[in-house]
């Protein structure tokens, strides 16, 4: 597969995964771009042993997990007011809420639910995360319950 095609096909999906992880448009853009830079570099090494989607999602989710390393550098200069909120005003509150709730989950749960919502097969998710399929199924069920609960608390 050519890089341009991959980029075309996966940009939105990878962006959403990153967005679910950090709930910050700018940061998610950066993370998504970094992911594609890694994909670009690693592509010659990709063998068709596994699904290309699995392969890309692995890179993207690992990159998100590593994000905490960079977080530390910004933590101190963080502004007290969340400027990001203004930018997202136009967005539907439902979307905002969903992404916010997901980003508040434990790190690995964020990845699992994002992949599920992206309609990645559960067997694939198991392969990306490195857990058994039954484990993933249980986790997804619990996370969805948690999200529903939160939505209801907020009047949905």
């Amino acid at each position: 597969m050519v890089f341009e095609e991959i980029y075309e096909l996966y940009w939105q999906r990878i962006f959403r995964l990153c967005m679910g992880y950090v709930n910050d448009t700018e940061l998610a853009q950066d993370l998504a771009q970094e992911t594609f830079i890694i994909v670009w570099q690693q592509l010659p090494k990709f063998r068709n042993e596994s699904n290309i989607g699995t392969w890309i999602f692995r890179i993207a989710s690992n990159n998100c997990l590593r994000q905490i390393e960079k977080e530390k550098k910004f933590a101190k200069t963080d502004l007290p007011i969340n400027l990001e909120e203004k930018k997202q005003e136009s967005m539907e509150p439902q979307i905002q809420m969903l992404y916010q709730f997901i980003s508040e989950l434990p790190e690995t749960d964020r990845i699992i639910i994002s992949l599920e919502l992206e309609e990645v097969k559960q067997a694939e998710i198991a392969h990306i995360v490195g857990l058994s399929e039954s484990n993933i199924r249980v986790k997804i069920h619990r996370i969805k319950e948690k999200l529903t609960q939160k939505f209801k608390e907020n009047g949905y």
């Binding site: 830079i37 530390k72 979307i95 434990p106 490195g130 319950e145 529903t148």
Partner: protein, 197 residues
């Protein structure tokens, strides 16, 4: 449980402008250069300092073996320090990014723990070699002084060494370890999320 909220549908509505390829490739170039630059800078540091010291050796022709041992120790100390620094840097960048999250988190954890051990060991080694080297190096020149000024010269040097060893070194280690410990704990915590249930 009634999940009548269509999460998938809400999820999909989030989109973002795709940066064009040129922008992405520009970033790629910058990213590559940055890594390379860092590596080059640290190595230029090593090479120029070593050359300077070797130039002193050549220019002033020390007579005693102690002076030569001193010079070799200092250069070797710096070489080991920079070699280890470069290696650690590379190890971190070589982690396979296409493993599963579970394996990836474990490698991050292992690498960071190794880094923690290396940093302390190498820093101690560096300081010891540098101090020993200086003491050896000084001997030739102090031996030509009067006894009093010779003792004074060593006293001042030893005081400076003590300050470095007992004050600067622990502080540097503490600062480095603090950052690493935080990361190690965080990686461990995330990894534990995958162990439960």
């Amino acid at each position: 449980m009634a999940t009548n909220i269509d999460f998938k549908n809400i999820w999909k509505q989030q989109t973002s402008n795709k940066p064009n390829m040129e922008e992405l490739l520009g970033k790629l170039k910058k990213f590559r250069n940055q890594n390379l630059r860092r590596l080059i800078f640290s190595n230029i540091g090593l090479i120029t300092t070593s050359l300077l010291i070797l130039f002193i050796w050549y220019r002033y022709q020390p007579e005693m073996i102690t002076t030569k041992i001193g010079i070799v120790l200092v250069v070797l100390g710096m070489a080991i320090f920079l070699f280890a620094y470069n290696k650690m840097f590379m190890v971190f960048y070589k982690i396979d990014q296409t493993q599963s999250n579970n394996e990836y988190l474990q490698s991050l954890y292992v690498v960071k723990s190794k880094q923690k051990f290396m940093q302390t060991t190498i820093l101690n080694l560096y300081f010891i070699m540098l101090f020993l080297g200086i003491c050896f190096y000084m001997y030739e020149y102090t031996s030509r002084m009067t006894l009093g000024s010779g003792i004074l010269a060593y006293a001042v040097t030893l005081a400076w060494i003590a300050f470095n060893w007992f004050y600067l070194r622990p502080r540097t280690i503490k600062k480095q370890q603090g950052k690493l410990d935080e990361l190690i704990n965080k990686f461990e915590e995330i990894n534990n999320q995958l162990k439960e249930s």
